[in-house]
Amino acid sequence: MTLLRFTKDHEWIRLDGDLAVVGITDYAQSQLGDVVYVELPEIGRRVEKGKEAAVVESVKAASEVYAPVSGEVAEVNEAITADPAKVNADPMGKGWFMKLRLTDLKELDDLLDEAAYQRFLEQEQH
């Protein structure tokens, strides 16, 4: 079962077996502009829901990527370190940032589903 959720800070999280894949949304990458650099956490690091887990930089902005849920970093996507443009090209797919081993599945409950995130975006833009 793949569960896809979103945060109001424009991160997405997709459950993939017992790991959760995290990235930034298409809206986030278009707001940032060309991504020039990403700073990914170390494998094994514990991240906390709502706290900074990674940094993504474009020419005109630098943004924190917050962990949508708490967990341990199991894998990071070296491909975007080598080629940050992947984040712009395929933010929901090849542009993923990290995979977390979750500790508390209930933390997913207050995240937005796809429809709610779309509604949130429409509100944001007004």
Binding site: G33, D34, V36, Y37, E57, V59, P84, A85
Partner: protein, 510 residues
Amino acid sequence: MNDVSLTGPIASVTGNRGLQIEEKLIFEQDSPGRCGVDLPEPAPFLSRLGGLARQGVIGLPGLSEPQVVRHFTRLSQKNYAIDSGLYPLGSCTMKHNPRLNEKLARQPGIADIHPLQPVSTVPGALELMDTLAHWLKILTGMPAIALSPAAGAHGELCGMMAIRAALELRGERRSRVLVPESAHGTNPATAAACGYMVDPIPANDSGRVDRAALEAKLGPDVAALMLTNPNTCGLFEGEIIEIAAAVHAAGAFFYCDGANFNAIVGRVRPADLGIDCMHLNLHKTFSTPHGGGGPGCGAVALAASLGRHAPLPWIVHGPDGLELLEQGTGAAELSLGRLKGFHGQMGMFVRALAYMMSHGSDGLRQVADDAVLNANYLRAGLEGELSLPFGGHCMHEVLFDDGFLKDTGVTTLDFAKALIDEGYHPMTMYFPLIVHGAMLIEPTETESKASLDEFIAVVKRLAAAARSGDVRRFRSAPVLTPRRRLDETRAARKPILRWRAELECREAAE
């Protein structure tokens, strides 16, 4: 005015365009052993370098004087400057840099004196610094001036450190600093660096800080409010005295970012507004040259409660004349310490003092008057074509937003780049952040009416062109400059920050 044809330039053999000449890096013009300075060879002597003599080649190129002069002359010809034309950068105060100031700064009695020669041999230097401080005290109404900060941001750091020192002396732990959302990025950066949590205050519909929101955020844990006045929208904060009173009632300090002092110099004293601490940019209001990015000077005016924490060194009036206090003892025992090596930016002190003496108290007041008049003249001239987010007149700078570009496909950035082709440096863009696609224009008082009329005419023509759908002109701009738009993404993804012999640093597109 003629329309410029936007078909590309004629290709020359060299790639040069008349007076605009391509110039390689000095490293690409090396001839080993060649030298542009003739120096004698010392007589043989016994080295005392202790076995640390440098081995191997450093890698510096050798050029003659004619080549070096030509190199840097050609480079200079690729720069826009105040000397070339109007530089409408909001909050930067790009006024004329008087040449008298350059002459005086080069007098041997100013340029060829060392900060550590015996103080008894430099009474004139102390006198100059003291005189400058005196002028700044009278203009600000504040009793103390810290001269040593090297730039505006450095002055902000000085001010916030003085505030923290004062609070520590009181034995109070306050953790928050209030900063308007319209503030320049250095304000929250400085507050955060000093260990404070930054609490933003929104603006109201008239572009001023929301006083109710501000007062609601005041409390015993607020250390300071950092405000810019006139603010970054170019508007005077009319409720500033009430705001100051509220800040003081809460036991906090009132820091003012003095970047916009040009609007009120000689007309208003910051002390009369209730300000405790204000940095001045000598390279803005007081005409010291921007020099392509520096050096500057961010002298700080301080109220008595903060003046005793001023950074070293202090110049004080002693029984036998001026004294230089270099230690944090005696009268200076509460000083926050040293923020910079030696005694401060003397080269900027003399230029600023010469500027102030040239204008005098009457001339300085006229500076503010003309600066505000010029900005309002631009506002009136452009308000039909461009869109104003806030009504009423402005102070020394006028803020437009990108409403007038709606549905044209032209962004603020594109508009600014088209202005470059017309022979102007763009205005400040996308700042302040509280307005969409901001364009902040500050002409300063050293622009003539004719210069302003020309600028108004050009901007109106461009606005009309944008609305008529001539998108290509804007998206491709600039085309008439030494370089067209540069790939900043590539520069950041694969940084090349120096020349290397091994690398292909030559002209090559991927």
